[in-house]
Each structure stands twice: as structure tokens, then as C-alpha cells.
Symmetry: C2
Subunit: 376 residues, 2 copies
């Protein structure tokens, strides 16, 4: 796996019972996954020779993030390395312009969008619809709210163009809530769909995920799963695909969905599966990229809630960690081994049970206590 | 953790979400846990200097097996190393004579037993009860049926004495079935009890574990849990304690229990907890030895069955592994990364559900198919 973040850490964890030999390419020996993996190569994922050397002896290489240059992946594949997902699929996760163009071609509902050339062009884009505000995104390199701007006027629109990366304009969607449809697909075409979840964002960062999404019309849930499966197939995704969605009021007033983002790797909206599904997204990602038969994606509990643990003002979470475990013996804690910095994702918690309000309160309490925003 | 077997492998896996830095002392770099752990020291656990060097920088050391000499553990502790469980507790897991003497002193029901000096003494022991057969055990070094003899006559009784290790004689118990009561205890005295399970042995090796033990009288289950908690407290066990039990017909004809063996580490009879309990034995062992609050030991399913995967005649299990995953997407496979040798434990499977017959069939089918004894 290329990339030493928490997704790789949890993928290694999930691969252990499968008997998988896991080798990691990590930026530093202190990265989250590098702390726990058995075989760690420290090197730069942007360097082809490093990738080539790393891939030697691997049956397949897969990714913790979207930052490996596509030309390197094409070169590796030409040399016989199994790259999963492949560069054609990853192009859609790396470049939001490519993603939007392809989804639109497939008839997948998306927010109104187009590439924009400069601030004046942003104003034209706004005027083509309901005017400002407009969302601007650099087509590459964004995550967790980075690379995304909420723009109220042409004067606001200068900043995104400074990076010299193409900029995509999107209408500001008046969504009811955010959902995610997560699927896993293997090279032989087998695919599984997890229940559609609700994802609650705070300041552009995922805060809470509720599985399944409460009060979601069954036919809309099914439509979201079918859409995700179709995108996985059409884009030839191998491994886990997260389709982030907006739930909106459609033209007929009925609930409808629009695709917000795609991620072709295990995803924050799937962390609940570690304790809430028969097979976790990490285990199924491993199974998929190795073309093993996929595991059952069904939920194990009526409700599962995931809450991200962000770093707070205190670097040492140990006392809070003890408190949360003592207060709630059923709490499932997942720490990433990272140094605590304010706002940094350093872990998450999962809770599950029969009563949504209770399950959600437990998860939010633990996450808040670990961050230091709740002290009782 | 000292010892690189599958128990250490699964303990490392369970420590990852807790954010624990796991360091391993392994006999070889190819041991089961050494293949997946982040920090591996290869060395001899019988060598004090190796242990001393290994323990440097560890908050606590704990064990995958019972083979570290007690005098080394006492020396480490005298030097300030936290050794959990401690040598006083481990003495009972290392020496069956010490274990039997202490349990008897505590009034814990055990099979009739005493140390025996030679074959003639075995005959005297037999005559003190119902005669032959008698079980002979070397007091140290046995596991999985090794170091245990079923002796039908004085002529049979010579072999166990050849090792030069004291020999314990025990009556052959006419048991109804074998049970295990598993508990976890922390240094601060917190303890949790898992449901009592039935353990089915084949040729002295654990074959299947059913959780909870079917048709077990609730008052007997409670008595078994209380007994295990009491043994943990009286022997000052820290971490996981497995109390292997015989269920017998008591003097009054009512079911009763006798203690067969103790193990002070995660144990095969607790593997079902990985998929069948809120908190696995491995996670609770880690929590206990680090004196973290313990996790909920309650079951997540009505029934969970564990079946051991033993090596068969074919060294390559890959096709069988694919078949089992494809046949049963809810099957939970746990492979140890070991080379396959006939009869060697190379993994286990867990299944869970509402119908015992179905859950048991699924587990046994998968284990048999992986071994090669079932081919359809």
C-alpha cells in the first residue's frame, strides 16, 4: 500500500486475519501506518524509481491516498505491476474536472459545474444559474475542505486561481443532508454495496457518520447504491469506492441525490463498518485488490455511529482516553498513533445499538471528550 | 510481548486500534507475529540479557506462551520492569504440580491427583482410586496433548518419567464435556467474565468452541465464571485467564465442574470473541496488562462457533481459502501466516448467527475444507 496514513494503518490491521503480507511505502517512519506495519519502505511516492523498487515482490499495489502521479502508475503497469485501482479509474479521483465530465457523460446527477478560467468567468458561471455564491475547487489536491472555496463575489474568486491548477466552479447546492454510498468491486467484477450512510460535516471535515442514514426512503437508498455500483463498473474501479452524495429536493419535490465527490480507497464514511458491518471496508478493500471473494457488507447492529476524534488544545489525550473507556465499556476506539494537533484527525470512535439517540450520544460524547470540548 | 506465535499476532492486531506500540520478542523473523508486527526483536526468551534488552523502553511485558523462566521474570521485575502476569501467577501456568496444589488449597474442585515418583507409584495412585486408566502429565512443557499420557497399565507408565521432569498423576475424569471459563483481570483489580463456552477436543487438540456452551445450566455457568474470577484474584493473574473445565455428574447427580488446566494469556477457547463479543480477549488482554479500563465481554450474537484450521496434506491452502470465502461471505477467517504442516494449527474460522446447527456447520465445513478433509 502506498501512503502511510490511518487508512493504510487500518488496512494492515484488516489484512492480518486474511493472512496477507502487507508492505508499506510511507513518507516517514513516524506515519500512522508505519508505526504498526511489518514491512515499511520509507520513500517518496512521487518518485518512479522508488515506486518501482517498492512494487518489486508485491502481488498488487494499492493506495492510501490519491497523490501518486498517474504517469508513474501507467509506467508501473506497463512493467507488469498490478495497480489497483488502475490509473484510468484513479484519474477520476485525482481530477475533479475529469470526474465531473465523465459522470455527466454517464448521466449521473451532479451539481451544475464547469471549468472556469478566471474570476470574470466565475461571475459568468454564477449568472448562468442563480448567481453567487459559487463553490470553487482546484481540480487536484484537495481534501477535508482544503482546495475548496465558498465564493460570494468576483472579488472573492481570485484566491483559487493562484495555485496555477485548473479551477472547477460548482453551484452551491441547497442540500438537505450529505449521504455516502460505499461499494467495493473486485477485478473479476464482483461487487458489494454497504448501507447508505448519513455524513455530518463540520467546517468541511467529516464529524459524524450514521449507518444506515436515518429516515432515508428505501427507494432512494437503493438508487444511491445502484448509482455507486454503476460508477464503480463504468469507471472500472477496483477496491473501495466512496460516492459522497447530496440529498436534495428534486424538481418534483421528491428527495433526489447528486454526486459530490468520489474516493477510490477506504474512506472516512466507511469507518463505521469496522464494528458495525459483517465485513469492514478495509477487509473488503484488501479482498478486492487481491481478487478474493468479497465479504458480506451487511450491518451487524440496528444503528452504528462513527465520530471522528480531532486533536484539541491538549497534546496528551491519555486521561481522556482512560475516562472514555471506563465510562462506556462498549465504546470502540480507533486511534491512529498520530501526534495531537488542533483539528487534526487522530482517531475515531464507533458505537452501535438499538436506539439511535443513545448510540449517537455515546459516540459524540466520546469524540468530544477526547478532543477536550466536553469535560464532564 | 514475548513469543511470536499466533496469540501475539492477534494481540498486535487488537492493539492497533487502541493506539498501542507493540514490540515483539520472537524466536525467528518468520514466526506468525513477526510477519506482521512493527517492531520485532529476534532473540531467545530463555536468555536473561536478551529479555533485559528487549524490555528496555517497554511500559509492560506480557507473554504469548508460558516458557520464559520464572527466575528471569523475577530478575526483570527486581530491575523495575512491569511483568504482567507476574512470576507468582505464572508459576501456576508453568507447573501443573504447583497449580494443582494451590487450587486444592483454595478448595477449587480438581480431578484427584498427586505427584508420582515412578511407575510403581502410578499403580499405587491408581489403586487409591478406581484403578487404571490414569492420566500422567509432565508438570512443565506440555500443550495441545503433548506432555500428556493416557496410561492403562504400569508398563505404559514408564515413558513420562524419561524426560526427568516431575510427573503428575490424575484420575481419568469421566466428563460429559469440556468447558472453558475465560476472564480478564487488570492490575487494579477490575475483571470481566466472558460467557462460558464448550470446547470440543479431537486427539488432544481443540477442534471447535461453541459460545455460549449449549444447554448449560445458568447456575453452573455462573459458578464457573465465579470460580474463574476467584482463581484470577487469588493467583493475582493480570491479563486473560483461561480456566479449562470438565463438566461432570456430581455426587448428587447434578452437573458439576472440575478444573482441568489454566492458561494465563489469550487462549484458543477465546478466539470466538474476535467476532462474537463486543471486546475480544486480545483487546482485553492488552487493556488489562496496560491497566486500561476493560471492555464489555458480552456476546454480539446468539451463537458464535470457532473451528481451528489444521494443516492437511496439501501445503497450499489458497484454492480452499478462495472457495470458503466465496461459499460463505459471512465467514470470518483468521490465518496465522504459518507454513502448512499436517496437524499444525494454521488458522481458525469464526461464524455467528441465530441457529446453532447452521452456525456450527458453517464453521466445521470451512475448517474441514481448508484442511482438505472435506472436498465438496
Amino acid at each position: 500500500m502506498v501512503g502511510g496514513g490511518q487508512l493504510a494503518r487500518m488496512t494492515h490491521e484488516a489484512g492480518i486475519p486474511l493472512g496477507v503480507r502487507f508492505k508499506l511505502l510511507s513518507d516517514t517512519p513516524r506515519d500512522s501506518a508505519a508505526l504498526v506495519a511489518g514491512e515499511v519502505v520509507v520513500g517518496d511516492h512521487r518518485d518512479l524509481d522508488t515506486l518501482r523498487e517498492f512494487a518489486r515482490g508485491c502481488d498488487v499495489i494499492t493506495f492510501d491516498h490519491e497523490h501518486v502521479p498517474l504517469e508513474h502508475l501507467r509506467a508501473l503497469r506497463a512493467e507488469g505491476v498490478a495497480v489497483r485501482p488502475g490509473p484510468e479509474a484513479l484519474a477520476h479521483a485525482q481530477d475533479k474536472g475529469v470526474m465531473r465530465a465523465r459522470l455527466t457523460e454517464l448521466g449521473v446527477p451532479c451539481p451544475r459545474h464547469r471549468l472556469v478560467a478566471d474570476p470574470a468567468d466565475v461571475t459568468r458561471f454564477a449568472q448562468e444559474g442563480d448567481g453567487y455564491p459559487v463553490i470553487l475547487k482546484t481540480v487536484r489536491g484537495g481534501y477535508d475542505g482544503k482546495g475548496v472555496w465558498f465564493v460570494r463575489s468576483e472579488a472573492d474568486a481570485a484566491e483559487p486561481f493562484r495555485a496555477g491548477v485548473p479551477v472547477l466552479a460548482e453551484e452551491k447546492v441547497d442540500f438537505r443532508r450529505e449521504l455516502a454510498a460505499n461499494v467495493v468491486r473486485s477485478p473479476s467484477g464482483q461487487a458489494v454495496a454497504y448501507p447508505v450512510v448519513e455524513s455530518v460535516q463540520v467546517a468541511g471535515v467529516c464529524d459524524t457518520v450514521i449507518a444506515p442514514a436515518p429516515d432515508l426512503a428505501p427507494e432512494l437508498a437503493l438508487r444511491a447504491q445502484e448509482l455507486a455500483l454503476r460508477v464503480a463498473r463504468e469507471l472500472d474501479v477496483v477496491g473501495h469506492l466512496a460516492v459522497e452524495l447530496f440529498e436534495v429536493a428534486g424538481a418534483d419535490g421528491e428527495p433526489a441525490i447528486l454526486v459530490n465527490e468520489l474516493a477510490m480507497r477506504p474512506h472516512n464514511s466507511g469507518h463505521w463498518t469496522q464494528d458495525g458491518a459483517v465485513t469492514s471496508q478495509f477487509a473488503n478493500h484488501v479482498r478486492a485488490v487481491l481478487d478474493l471473494p468479497l465479504g458480506d457488507p451487511r450491518p451487524r447492529a440496528r444503528w452504528t455511529v462513527m465520530a471522528n476524534v480531532l486533536g484539541g488544545d491538549y497534546p496528551d489525550m491519555y486521561q481522556a482516553y482512560l475516562h472514555c473507556m471506563a465510562r462506556d465499556p462498549g465504546l470502540k476506539i480507533h486511534m491512529y498513533g498520530k501526534d495531537v494537533k488542533p483539528g487534526r484527525k487522530v482517531g475515531h470512535v464507533n458505537t452501535y445499538g438499538d436506539e439511535l439517540a443513545d448510540v449517537r450520544d455515546r459516540a459524540r460524547h466520546a469524540a468530544g471528550y477526547l478532543r477536550g470540548t466536553i469535560t464532564e
